[in-house]
Amino acid sequence: MNIDVGLFNYWVVVILMVAGLYTVISKGHLIKKIIGLNIFQVSVFMMYITMGKVEDGTAPIFSETAVAYSNPLNSVLILTAIVVGVATTAVGLALAVRIHEAYGTLDESEIIEMDGGE
């Protein structure tokens, strides 16, 4: 059974991006911002993978039975991007820990207030 999903995938991906972006901008808790960043990035990954899919294709590993392969390039790019994402998360979290030590809070507006509004 094949349903023509058309562009549906992309639209959902966009909704996820919006959710991630909103979390990053609007949430005060620094770690929650990082979660938002993650959601944003993962949805971008999904966009790449979605475009790499070929109808009736299989995973890009050579086999005798395959009719078509999905695009390996997209997978490779996203493998790299995932690592980059987690690296950013790690540095961000380390910063959050230090900020909590220095300010005693992780709330963005409180930190801005303690910095004298700069």
């Binding site: 562009l7 992309y10 919006v18 909103y22 392969y69 999905s70």
Partner: protein, 183 residues
């Protein structure tokens, strides 16, 4: 059939993302983001990206979640109440609208004739000749190791950078604590 799984997973993801936004406790949000990553991994498998799915499950759902939990244990998981930030919503939705506009000229999902699959020297070449040129059945591995090996080197450097960064930030910080209290 895979399309149905696809739609179901995507719907789930949207629901989870909304719950994450609304979660009062960051701990909950962290756990949910782990689940989010796992579902993504599932989705990647459906879309034939098994290597990515594996990495996402290990790194996105595993490592990231552990790191976040560790960070939370050192800080606080309570989030201050904030009114809905309409400005942020507008920015985010506008960005989304722009992207949706951009999708209108995109090739359909799974279209084998899409340019991304038909470039003679890129995707087609990888699929058709990598077994001969590199002699590894997994095309993703061939790409990672050879055709785009330099990205992989860059990726390794990113990890190195992150490690150094975290060490710089957190290494031997016990001694400094007093100083920072004072500043």
């Amino acid at each position: 059939m895979p399309e149905l799984i696809n739609i179901a997973l995507l719907t789930f993801l949207v629901v989870i993302s909304v719950v994450i936004i609304r979660a009062k406790d960051v701990f909950t949000a962290v756990m949910l983001s782990g689940i989010f990553s796992l579902l993504c991994a599932g989705l990647f498998t459906v879309m034939d990206a098994v290597d990515v799915a594996f990495t996402e499950a290990a790194v996105g759902a595993g490592v990231s979640t552990v790191l976040m939990l560790a960070a939370l244990s050192m800080t606080t998981s309570q989030e201050k109440e904030r009114p809905t930030n309409w400005g942020a919503l507008v920015v985010a939705v506008l960005t989304g609208a722009l992207l949706v506009y951009g999708t209108l000229d995109m090739p359909k999902y799974g279209d084998p004739a899409a340019p991304v699959h038909t470039h003679e020297q890129v995707a087609k070449r990888y699929v058709e000749t990598s077994l001969v040129e590199i002699d590894v059945p997994n095309m993703v591995t061939s790409l990672l190791a050879s055709y785009r090996g330099f990205d992989t080197l860059g990726e390794t450097t990113v990890v190195l950078t992150a490690c150094i960064g975290v060490l710089l930030l957190l290494g031997g910080r016990r001694r400094e604590e007093d100083e920072h209290e004072g500043s």
